[in-house]
């Protein structure tokens, strides 16, 4: 990484944060997923008596070993550690693909890509910088969302149930393995499609397909087909990391100046 690449990364990050329309898209989804959704579950669990009895029936069916605290606390721990991780994975996908689409195809759309190609950065360095910019924003939004979710949940839990809530090991796997890997996969897919795509929206659409397995995971959990366990998350993380490595390797070598300017 040299100063030329750092300059490009900084410019790309500034470009996305100064574009209110794109930046709002990147913020609204994480905000809805990490603050609004868990808060609704917390309020429903703590304040609606009938809901608690429904959840009790669910708890009896689940293979949960940790049953410390009252029923509300157990339910909310279940929500945080088993349901939220799957939802959370949409954040790095969305943030990274929006950023990657904007920084690759956005440059093409605004006729600034050609100017960059006339710089003394090699195509490889150019791609590395753009991938890193997308990855940094994806991770930044993910970590901020996680921190915001934990702060809001802790406050709500303390007020409503009188006890705090702790994330378990699944969050460690999500934050340090799955989120970075899925972020790189989303960037890889967006970048690979960026030579053909002519608009930002077109490039983003390719990464949206990644959301389908996540939705399947969420539905699987709610219908009782799958339960997010540490082992399942670890396995997912390893597969995604391998896929990311393959996509990155293929994405950079695929381009020539001529293909990019088409």
């Amino acid at each position: 990484m040299n100063t030329k690449q750092l300059a490009l990364i900084k410019k790309d990050i500034r470009g996305i944060t100064s574009n209110k329309q794109v930046f709002m898209v990147m913020l609204i989804v994480p905000l809805a997923l990490t603050i609004v959704l868990p808060s609704i579950l917390v309020f429903v669990t703590a304040l609606v008596p009938d809901a608690a009895s429904d959840f009790q029936a669910l708890l009896n069916m689940l293979p949960i070993t940790e049953r410390e605290g009252n029923q509300d606390q157990i339910i909310l721990r279940l929500v945080l550690n088993k349901i939220m991780p799957a939802f959370f994975l949409m954040i790095p996908i969305m943030a990274s693909s929006v950023m990657a689409a904007s920084s690759f195809v956005g440059e093409k759309e605004k006729h600034t890509l050609e100017t960059l190609l006339y710089s003394p950065l090699s195509l490889k360095q150019l791609f590395q910088s753009k991938i890193l910019a997308g990855f940094s924003v994806g991770m930044m939004v993910s970590f901020i969302s996680f921190a915001a979710m934990m702060i809001v949940l802790e406050i709500e839990m303390l007020f409503l149930t009188g006890a705090g809530i702790m994330p378990d090991i699944s969050w460690l796997i999500v934050m340090l393995l799955i989120a970075p890997a899925i972020s790189l996969v989303a960037i890889g897919i967006t970048v690979r499609g960026s030579a053909k795509a002519q608009t930002i929206e077109e490039a983003q659409q390719r990464a949206v397909f990644l959301i389908f397995p996540i939705i399947a995971l969420v539905i699987g959990q709610f219908t009782g087909v799958i339960l997010v366990s540490t082992w399942l998350l670890l396995g997912m993380g390893v597969v995604l990391a391998l896929l990311a490595a393959l996509l990155m390797k293929g994405a950079v070598g695929k381009f020539t100046y001529e293909k990019l300017l088409r």
Binding site: T3, K4, A7, L8, K11, R14, G15, S18, N19, K110, H111, T112, E114, T115, L116, L117, Y118, S119, P120, L121, S122, T256, Y257, E258, L261
Partner: protein
């Protein structure tokens, strides 16, 4: 070392469109080379080949002894490029844009700021330096593009229509700047449709049409290729019998001669016949006339070839 060298350079795009067809010429350092031709003639393709953006289908080209297809990054460090599609960032100010591109060329921040400020001053953009590019007019953007191409003091500038969108005053300012750069040894490769503008600043020319190079050389060499004849405009009270002329107005005549040496003989002939001469000027073919003659000659040749 030649600044630019093209040897039998050809480019055929996917689909079979032959944009550049077997062209060869070379440029010395410090030349202001005007590459002229109608739309779709192959000018921009040639620039892209010389900058390493396209790979030649046949032949080769070198810029300061670098092969653009093999060493594009090294070449980009030595060159500045303006094309219609090489735009800058609307969300950054003029100064920020220049600083960003300066850092991409490996300049440190303080050098970038100094150089950017000097260029903005030189191109009359200093008052707009903090303004976002989105608020710039077409002419201001074009001048900023020139500043961007020059930020790293390149050895060669590839300029595709650098004065398009500029008012006459700004265009003149850009002309002076280009001539100053050439005087300091920067080679200029200039593509333009504006032939009068090219004649003002270029030292040598290349004329291209439908991918083929029609002619290269300085204006005298190009004139000789088209016609060595000189048109003399005279205002005289009479024209002696036997002297071939075309009437251009009241007592104004155009006479075509083989060279300027024949002008004194014409004047002597009129005076000797008892006439008075009020005005004599030798009109030489302008670049525009040479250009159209060459294009017509080429089109005639192509049509003849097709028959």
């Amino acid at each position: 070392m030649r600044a630019v060298l093209l040897e039998n350079l050809s480019k055929t795009y996917t689909g079979g469109n032959k944009a550049v067809d077997d062209i060869s010429f070379s440029l010395e350092q410090g030349e202001v080379f005007g590459f002229l031709g109608p739309n779709g003639a192959g000018k921009t393709t040639t620039i892209k080949l010389l900058c390493g953006m396209l790979t030649p289908s046949n032949g080769c080209c070198r810029v300061f002894d670098l092969d653009p297809a093999q060493n594009p990054e090294k070449l980009h460090q030595l060159s500045g490029v303006i094309t219609e599609h090489a735009q800058m960032y609307d969300h950054l100010s003029g100064l920020e844009n220049l600083i960003f591109y300066g850092t991409l060329f490996g300049m440190n921040l303080s050098d970038c700021e100094k150089r950017a400020t000097a260029l903005l001053e030189r191109l009359n953009l200093i008052d707009a330096r903090q303004r976002k590019l989105s608020a710039y007019s077409t002419g201001m953007r074009q001048r900023l593009s020139l500043a961007r191409a020059m930020i790293h003091s390149p050895k060669i500038l590839f300029l595709d229509e650098p004065t398009s969108g500029l008012d006459p005053e700004s265009a003149q300012n850009v002309n002076i700047l280009i001539q100053e750069l050439a005087a300091r040894g920067t080679t200029i490769f200039l593509c333009t449709h504006q032939l009068r503008y090219a004649q003002e600043i270029c030292t040598t020319y290349g004329l291209i049409n439908k991918g083929s190079l029609l002619a290269t050389g300085n204006i005298e060499e190009l004139r000789t290729m088209v016609s060595s004849k000189v048109k003399v405009r005279l205002k005289a009270s009479l024209i002696p019998d036997g002297m071939a002329y075309q009437k251009a107005g009241e007592h104004t005549y155009d006479i075509t001669v083989g060279s300027e040496d024949e002008i004194p003989l014409i004047v002597k002939g009129i005076v000797g016949a008892g006439g008075d001469v009020y005005h004599v000027s030798a009109e030489r073919m302008s670049l525009e006339e040479i250009y159209f003659s060459l294009i017509d000659m080429n089109n005639g040749k192509m049509e003849g070839g097709n028959l």
